[in-house]
């Protein structure tokens, strides 16, 4: 892996990439799987964000960009739905700066292009949307501007700690957090009531509930566990207290898929997979939606942004889903996990770092921006605490969950989630994960075996990349 090419996309196989990132994007935009695949496959800049939204923001000056003449021009690469509306609002309220949003592809596609532009020393944007897990890959190649001198640090008081720690490396701040994806447990209240299953408070309760449900209905599974989805599994491992990576900048990297906590995690899920008490459909696949809608999956461990895609794909069970906090490894604990979320980073080499910093700080940390970001079009889950803590936000209802208020669960999880220490080799992790963990779906390997294999693969890769690797 070249020093200049670190952040390269994970889209390649179409697998690690497409799934890890494209899928999240798909879920958040509620786009059909077909559209995602086609767009992703073509490496197209499928511009789902630029669609005009009727009655979106209050209409502005004629024209469209809302820019004032003589303003400093900034280019911004981003793909999430609704970002165009936020940019428009910024341009209206900041006469001195004119931000132009470009869709350079979603997630992995964008990272590939960004790496290429950085290597070529031309064509890179001033600001780029980068997910938390990919930041260290760009940090280690010194591609991002440290925002500390520009006063972006003031935004800290308004950000969930998990979001903030993931944009910090040492004394430097490499991005402004935008959204988060804290995990919660959505369960089908009808199925749970029918089989007299209590909402599990611990993971052993969860396994017991899986047994009970499967005994009552051999076709039913407690939930879906997709071994092939690295981000899904890593989020669950984090929540379980078994996150396999330790990294705090520099050339030292910890990789541990075979420690006691990781092994306990692997055994827990392998037990349920082996007994067919969890299904192993691909995340966001039609099969998964069919399972959720047909009663074959009684629960879904979901990030806060999960319902967007779910609502678009289920019909029969809409309104039956209730949110509960994640089961804990031990009763009384409060471990939370996070899956997904984006940041805005200022890319090195641009001439307007100061203006770019102003923009990113406003984008992730202002009430104006969040009014749009948390709206129906964007549907992002905030890391921005004034919104996270507001009663209006917490009492919102969703079609999938009837009159219940899932945001109460997720807002709490967002506040308590711990930051994951993403390794700067995430690109390779996502790519190589797919093949290895597919063996678990196929049943030709167990999850503990796959962990062992992956441990060796990653240690070998990291060492070849020049890292000093600590195992265990």
């Amino acid at each position: 892996m070249s020093g200049d090419y670190t952040g390269t996309g994970t889209r390649g196989t179409g697998r690690g990439r497409l799934r890890g990132r494209g899928r999240r994007w798909a879920a958040t935009t509620g786009a059909a799987a077909l559209a995602t695949v086609v767009l992703a496959a073509c490496g197209s800049s499928g511009d789902t964000t630029a669609t005009a939204v009727p009655g979106g923001t209050g209409s502005t000056a004629a024209g469209g960009s809302g820019c004032h003449s003589g303003a400093t021009n900034l280019t911004f690469w981003g793909w999430s739905a609704g970002y165009d509306l936020v940019v428009k609002k910024f341009n209206q309220t900041h006469p001195g700066i004119c931000v132009k949003l470009e869709n350079a592809g979603a997630a992995g596609d964008e990272y590939v292009k960004l790496s290429d532009a950085l290597k070529a020393n031309s064509g890179a944007p001033d600001v780029a949307q980068i997910e938390y897990f990919e930041l260290p890959s760009f940090e280690i190649t010194k591609s991002l501007v440290d925002l500390t001198p520009y006063g972006v640090g003031d935004a800290r008081t308004n950000e969930a700690p998990a979001a903030w720690s993931q944009v910090i490396q040492g004394s430097a701040q490499f991005a402004m957090p935008v959204d988060l994806g804290p995990l919660g447990l959505y369960y089908n209240s009808r199925v749970f009531t029918q089989h007299k299953i209590a909402v599990p408070a611990t993971w052993s309760d969860f396994a017991a509930a899986a047994d009970k449900l499967h005994a009552a209905d051999p076709k039913a599974a407690i939930t879906n566990f997709d071994p092939v989805d690295a981000q899904d599994v890593l989020a669950l491992m984090q929540q379980y207290g078994a996150f396999p990576f330790t990294y705090s900048g520099g050339d030292k990297l910890g990789i541990n898929f075979t420690g006691p906590a990781q092994t306990a995690f692997a055994n827990l899920w392998q037990g349920m997979i082996g007994k067919k008490e969890v299904s192993t459909a691909a995340d966001f696949s039609p099969a998964q939606w069919a399972n959720l809608d047909g009663g074959a999956d009684a629960a879904r461990i979901s990030p806060a942004w999960g319902p967007v895609g779910m609502q678009g794909s289920i019909k029969k069970t809409i309104g039956d889903w209730r949110a509960a906090p994640m089961p804990q490894t031990q009763a009384g604990q409060d471990l939370e996990g996070n899956w997904g979320g984006s940041t805005l980073a200022v890319v090195k080499g641009g001439a307007h770092a100061k203006e770019a910093a102003t923009f990113v700080k406003w984008f992730g940390g202002s009430a104006d921006a969040w009014r749009i970001l948390s709206g129906d079009v964007a549907g992002a889950f905030p890391a921005y605490t004034p919104l996270l803590n507001s009663p209006a936000f917490q009492s919102r209802t969703l079609p999938i969950s009837g009159t219940s208020q899932p945001n109460k669960v997720f807002a709490k999880a967002a506040q308590k989630a711990e930051a994951a220490q993403w390794p700067p080799i995430m690109t390779a992790v996502l790519t190589q994960w797919t093949s290895t963990f597919a063996e678990v779906t196929k049943g030709t390997q167990t999850l503990p075996q796959a962990f062992k294999t992956f441990q060796q693969q990653m240690v070998k890769y990291a060492k070849a990349q020049g890292f000093t690797v600590t195992e265990g």
């Binding site: 892996m1 670190t6 799987a33 695949v37 086609v38 691909a282 099969a287």
Partner: protein, 328 residues
Amino acid sequence: MVQKTTPHAPPPRAPGVTPADGTGPPRAAAARRPARRRARSRQWPGAVFISPHMLALALFMLVPTGYAVYDSMQTTRLVGGTHYSGFANYSTVLHSAEFWDGVRRVLVFTGVQVPVTIALGFFFAALFDAGVVKYARFFRTVFFMPFAVPGVVAAVMWSFLLLPGFGPYAKLMHTLGFGHVDFFSSKLILPTIIVIVIWEWTGYNVTILYTSLKSIPQHVTEAAVMDGARLGTIVMRLKLPMVRPTIVMLCFLNTVGALQLFTEPSILAAFQPQAVSYGFTPTLYVYNTAVGSGDYNLGAAAAVVLALIIGALSLGAFAIRKRAGEFR
């Protein structure tokens, strides 16, 4: 630059004609014959005409290939930067079981897909040529349609058709009593891809073979009919041998295409990630290594190895064709 020689002198090699390396555009071989027949005096305009192609070839083929070779001899690490590493990357590729698995898989794929596609292509072309099909022109267009559909779209479409628990074919198999057939399982994924690619390419082969069959002079067929040959005999004993050069060329084109199998598995992987592994085909291995794992140096080395393998196979095919007297 071009000197006149006596008409009896052996024709010089036409400018711009490179030995078949399997990497040039498919039509290069076809264009060669007329070029070589040209008298020397007419070579200068010829060179002018082919120069845009040569320029494109240089820009988009030779330069990138040269860069790939250069890149394959470097090693760039996240920590520590870039250094010259000689043949270390080649050694890694040549010792990679995953790479060779992909090579083997693609050879199996080629061994099945190419003969079946050409046989089907000939069958339908002969059928159309024999004039026994009503609305032949309409059906010829229908047959060609899959080829007009981009491979990406075709693969997506087929993915939906074959998706377990979702697509109509899985349901059909269930109804027919085959149980739950998973077309994307590790056992069936290769046959599934073979079927998709055959579907995509048969029409193309039909079109080429049909044109070739049409070029057989009418009187030859008439003579055979006069001699009392039946339709089957005419097709198999008369027409088939006469279009043999076309079939040999199609074998060559289809094989080169098959060895580079990429689009279909990569799209199917998006639907069913567990079905298609990291190095399912050599091209996927190259892509996943370079773009996926960010190891451009190793990816470049794998690409060069792959190019050498395909080049060797192409040269072999070229030698066979030459021996068969195809190039006069």
